[in-house]
Symmetry: C2
Subunit: 329 residues, 2 copies
DNA sequence: TCCCCTTATACTCAAAGTGAGCATATACTA
DNA sequence: TAGTATATGCTCACTTTGAGTATAAGGGGA
């Protein structure tokens, strides 16, 4: 095994920065004009920058640096999400540029006001993935666009084995035929939509073929596009986050130090994309030792005043996997 | 944001390939002599190779290629684990070489006989992380070496905040003072041991300081070293795997198509590092719809003959998170 | 003032799931 | 034939969960 000298790579760092305000989840975006190098000059993009081989001691520091530079924000909770490295993910590769790798990070933050002149903007997370938000019932885009198209895609292959396989993936990802909808399977769903050509992202070619695209009038139902494969990163992040809230107390990164239980519930619902059973939710977080009352009362509720709670840090030493649990309603 | 031309990077691909044979978990290793570039010419290393910017269409293909080349194995189940990118992880960086990134993958496989002349070798997973194996009771290395040293490390800092923080991390990671041992916290434990200088890996410098190392006579209790930060990758992989078996039916990747329930249990125990309650374990996998009897009988048990079972694929469409569950005994 | 709307919070009750163990069946071996 | 090993069925108390019912306490408007 010979160690060759460095080939031509560019290593990009991306951040999926999530906040929840006014009961709706948001992601921090920048304008992706230069980035996308396509005709779509105003696609939203994730904060992005190349890793500096000399200056960035760790990947995480690199991410924090780029976010600071592009948005003015100082991140707290940050975790590595996934490394994307398929060839031709980025247009520069088509132009003889270096091979592009992107290491995506997930960050959670209490939403902050951005400077007016900031290039960054908070956008509704579900505006990119509308089929993931079930809080007001089953999203209509599912039955109006997605499932019909996916059924077509399933029957669109001759081979029996291939067809069965597609059918099974569809059933699992979208909760068909005996399966239930699983909120965590965000990426699986995105990938089916991508493979079936129901969403078309800005990278024009994939294995040399132009993908078929959905009729224009339906497109808006399918949510906003993002630059490059950033929407895939969004899907990856949401899936990870939905899993994680169940066994790590990460929601509290999105809340102020004290909060009403209903606020906590709304944040969880925003991430999980479903409504929860109120009484059982409080039972879980309270008896589960995740929160403790502060004794303070908040009267800004519009109803009976509520007690303010705080995160109980000790739960970390008491329980193995302290997360919130989703008593779906 | 300017896109600069490719800086000097080298992108390495590593594979943590896991199998379970004779009730003990194993990892596939190659000899790390060239790799480590240190005096330790015979440290075990993970199969490794640089990503080829031109030839490897995807990262996963790159990994499969290197594994094939170095071990002759054809991988099936593969998932991305983590990307390691801290500066000075690799000695070539000290010598003015390119910045080294390593993308680690986890692969599960039914153990195969290797060619006699193969450079690869199966080694016991717990020989590298002995404190993780509780199947024969609490590992003695914990009380004989680890905990005393870690207590020292905690009291070794003056600042109160720092001390409390260390104390809390210790309690959570190693199940002290009200906490219980959590099998999934493999990486947290590794990182404490690393920070406290209780294990010393082959990269000599870290932020310029030589780390203190444990007295030689105790070192063997702390398990074998690996080249570079490969033992950290092992820890990352084991933590991930222990989590994953609980909600994805990945164990079956390690078993032949039909098996006795006790075989299944032994494989789970090997990964989880604990003994399980037999009757409850069968209840879980059986009533949980994870397996189904084949009607065939296996008399090679040494006791009453057992029915052979197979994985029930349909469970994927029936349950959201089908994993095995650990009825600890 | 009182009714109504809103949110908060306590409590119940059945069903399902889990931890721990007893009991029995069927092989092989000394 | 006793003893050991594995396989498998079943019990029982306890906890957790799903789905409600009931009541408390604020504000606004008729």
């Amino acid at each position: 095994m010979t160690i060759r000298k460095g080939q031509r790579f560019m290593v990009g760092l991306n951040a999926v920065i999530v906040a929840v305000t006014d009961e709706s989840p948001r992601v921090l975006t920048v304008r992706g004009s230069e980035l996308s190098m396509t005709d779509d000059h105003e696609l939203a993009a994730l904060p992005f920058g190349p890793l500096d081989a000399e200056k960035d001691r760790t990947l995480e520091r690199g991410v924090r640096g780029w976010v600071r530079e592009q948005t003015g924000l100082e991140l707290e909770y940050v975790e590595q999400l996934y490394t994307f490295g398929d060839r031709h993910r980025h247009p520069i590769e088509h132009q003889g540029g270096p091979r592009m790798l992107s290491i995506a990070y997930l960050a959670l933050i209490r939403e902050v006001k951005l400077a007016l002149d900031s290039r960054a903007k908070w956008l509704d997370y579900y505006s990119f993935l509308p089929w993931e938000d079930w809080r007001r019932g089953r999203p209509k885009v599912l039955d109006q666009v997605i499932l019909p198209k996916l059924e077509e895609w399933v029957t669109g292959t001759e081979e029996w084995a291939s067809r069965t396989h597609r059918q099974e993936r569809l059933a699992i990802a979208f909760g068909l035929g005996g399966s239930e909808w699983d909120g965590e399977k965000v990426l699986e769903r995105y990938e089916l939509l991508y493979e079936a050509g129901i969403i078309d992202e800005s990278v024009r070619t994939y294995r040399g073929k132009r993908r078929p695209s959905t009729a224009v009038e339906k497109r808006e139902l399918m949510g906003r596009r993002m630059a490059l494969d950033h929407r895939r990163m969004l899907a990856t992040a949401l899936g990870r986050l939905r899993g994680k809230i169940k066994y790590r107390p990460v929601v509290f990164e999105l809340l102020s130090p004290t909060f009403r239980l209903l606020q906590l519930q709304r944040v969880v619902e925003a991430l999980a994309g479903v409504r929860l059973h109120k009484q059982n939710f409080r039972r879980l977080v309270d008896r589960g030792g995740l929160v403790e009352g502060t004794g303070q009362i908040d009267s800004e509720t519009g109803g009976r005043p509520a007690e303010l709670f705080r995160f109980r840090r000790e739960v970390l030493t008491e329980r193995r996997a302290p997360g919130v649990g989703l008593p779906t309603s």
